[in-house]
Symmetry: C2
Subunit: 438 residues, 2 copies
């Protein structure tokens, strides 16, 4: 068979990695795909030619990305520029030109995926995006195909390596957030502007995609609740550890009785869970299906070669469907486009979770009973309570509580009452808690 011609947009970290993997493993990839795969046209505004193994094999490298998507010899466009624009325009034009697309762009898919998939569907082409979630881990393939027989109940994933690195360092060395972040930036694990990672936006992009694949709902990034790790303190990491929990920044998608939960936030999880032991920059996604039970997928969530691994897997997949009837392909969002349903995404106030609470309570008889009383009145049952020793001369002591599951709006009301009661000072620390069981 004729080789497949790739048009590559972007020669940065992932673009360079893709060139390297396609070059280094060319023979083995062709043995699998049944045909050669070669980059015939690439575009990048700038790149480091010395650093990219295999760059010399590319017949044509220019600066004009639109020239690549308009190139009649290109079969598959691989978009590795990132960001919203011009990535969106390029992908839509590639589709209009009848080309298949492979992208690693989670932001683009999370925000513009509905539009892009509709266009692809209408034109009979495929847009593949395995690299958009959890780097090299084939989680999209697992959800979309490997678990196709299941009713998915929930997903919980460590899907941002930077955040997980920071939380791991905080735990292992008892260090503070700001301190570890600075080190992560120095090591290149965190961007100079760490907002997307630390505030959970990157994880929310990925969770939006996972939620759609799991539940057959349209992509709704704006409804995904997002809370970052910037407020996590070393003492809470330590208290959680002493109680047998670890704090992980999780993306959680769950079917509840009255809607879908899509939420990214720091979460206490039991330290014996496999996913609680996923440390450093590694990613892992835990998926609970009704038939299969819990399954976990672990690997590198970022980096040039791991992400390129997913890009190339998509290219091989797409190369296989080049000659197939579009109606028989795996649907973009796991469910047939006509079969997506509009199950509501729940506002965070309507989500039920257990909680870890740390209050700074007045060290006086009756105070703890008063706090417990308010919680009880709001329907919140306490699983464990610990009052720490007061520091010499301190009038207040840390009071740690673990609660059973409760609706967030009830917790909001209870904490407002407790804070207004004068029994505590400062703001209450609260971190959601999940058992990730059954």
């Amino acid at each position: 068979m004729e080789p497949v011609n790739i048009g590559l947009l972007g020669l940065g970290t992932v673009g360079g990695g893709t060139v390297t993997v396609l070059t280094r493993n060319a023979v083995e990839i062709a043995r699998r795909a049944g045909r050669g795969i070669r980059i015939t046209h690439a575009a990048a505004r700038s790149y480091d030619a010395e650093r990219i193994e295999g760059l010399g094999e590319i017949a044509r490298i220019g600066e004009d990305a639109f020239a690549v998507v308009d190139d009649p010899d290109v079969d598959i466009v691989v978009e590795l520029i990132g960001g919203y624009s011009p990535a969106r325009e390029l992908v839509l034009r590639a589709i209009a030109n009848g080309k298949h697309v492979v992208t690693a762009n989670k932001a683009l898919i999370a925000l513009h995926g509905n539009e892009i998939f509709a266009a692809a569907q209408a034109r009979g082409v495929t847009v593949a995006f395995e690299a958009a979630v959890a780097g090299g881990i084939p989680i999209i393939k697992a959800l979309r195909e490997g678990l196709a027989g299941n009713h998915i109940e929930w997903i919980a994933g460590i899907i941002n390596g930077t955040g997980n690195f920071i939380l791991t360092e905080m735990r292992d060395r008892g260090r503070d957030f700001a301190d570890v972040l600075a080190e992560a930036q120095a090591l290149g694990y965190a961007e100079a502007d760490p907002t997307f990672d630390v505030e959970g936006i990157d994880a929310a992009h990925k969770l939006t995609i996972l939620g759609s694949l799991a539940f057959g709902i349209p992509l709704q990034f704006d409804k995904t609740f997002t809370e970052g790790i910037g407020a996590i303190q070393a003492q809470d990491v330590a208290y959680a550890g002493a109680l047998g929990y670890r704090i992980k920044h999780l993306g959680i998608a769950r079917r509840a009785a009255d809607g879908i939960e899509l939420r990214v936030h720091p979460t206490l999880i039991p330290h014996r869970r496999l996913i609680a032991n996923v440390d450093g920059v590694m990613n892992a996604v835990l998926v609970k299906g009704d038939a299969v039970g819990p399954t976990l997928y672990y690997g590198a969530g970022a980096g040039a070669l791991p992400t390129a691994s997913a890009v190339v897997a998509d290219v091989v997949d797409v190369a296989r469907v080049l000659t197939t009837d579009p109606t028989n392909r795996v649907p973009h969002l796991a469910f047939q486009p006509t079969e997506l349903v509009d199950t509501p995404v729940l506002a965070i106030e309507n989500v039920e979770t257990a909680y870890y609470l740390r209050l700074t309570a007045l060290d006086r008889p009756g105070v703890m009973a008063g706090i417990a009383g308010i919680l009880g009145e709001e329907g919140i049952s306490i699983e464990a309570i610990q009052q720490k020793e007061p520091a010499p001369g301190e009038t207040h002591v840390p009071l740690i509580m673990l609660t059973h599951r409760v609706r967030e709006s009830c917790m909001n009301r209870a904490l407002a009452r407790i804070e207004a009661s004068g029994a505590v000072q400062g703001e209450t620390v609260r971190i959601r808690m999940e058992t990730l069981a059954g």
Copy 2:
């Protein structure tokens, strides 16, 4: 689109589970597949009609499996009888009849897969076997498609749940093998005849399949080295634990410089590895690709519904290719049939591993030096050595050693010399050791 008609062979554990999953999740599966999937004809010699949810939906249930594979209305034959015969004849006849096949039969694929895939290839049909390895974990899809861009370096898997349950119980409770095996049989985790599980044959079937998928070699069950867990003693589990290791029964497939390693045996691995923490009946497969790095896939490796999850995923996959051109499908063994290579599988004597050794050594000055001397002469370097306290009145003491990597034939020679030297009594315990790093 017309629904797909399934002909089901076998209504035992997995067959019953498959009926249940296809019934319970019928709507959701059709939303994914784009067409309904229904069992139109099933055959079983006996079955428990009360136990199988959805059995009433099957139009025709008989005793003649050949009538199912000859039924012109059946599109896909799902073989869940197990064993070699008549499963082999049924699958070959289904293929001859132009039907696609889905099977969970690891023994059949490991021993007769080459013949079956050649027949399927010639007839233009697909034989899918995700359920044959690691139950509900989509590991075959991950290896064959998700990691298609990688040069796979090695695989290490906990791929027999019974064996893992026994080793977990031995570790957690300090109990002996025979004791735990009896309990596993009582709980239904182990068969009345546990040979296939505890001697590693079941794991070897699965490893044979994984090795072919990873390295593009024909299936060669007869060359897969197999050692069971029956000789593992409680004291070795404890000594390994004290040294920071756990003993797991692993299937390991590895590319070495001079060939492929395919081996199933008890293995010491560092307790901090994620896979070392996979306990009870759960399975996990660790795959190291050159681009993606290490990835891990975890889930239930057996059971009615988890295995059915994999069967149904295969059915959905096959339903999608019903109308496609056979040359563009995913190849059975990941590589195109013309691209399989005959890389030799190494005899175990030529495999290099590190070792845990427990010798029962004469408690006399100079003995340890003599043993270390023999190891040194055979080119074996020692990483750690521990001499335990002698019991009162005992002339011999346990001597625990960890070695660096060495070719098995050298270790055989060294141990024969040590045993002949009179410095030790009884047989030396040796367990292979892997770091599973990089």
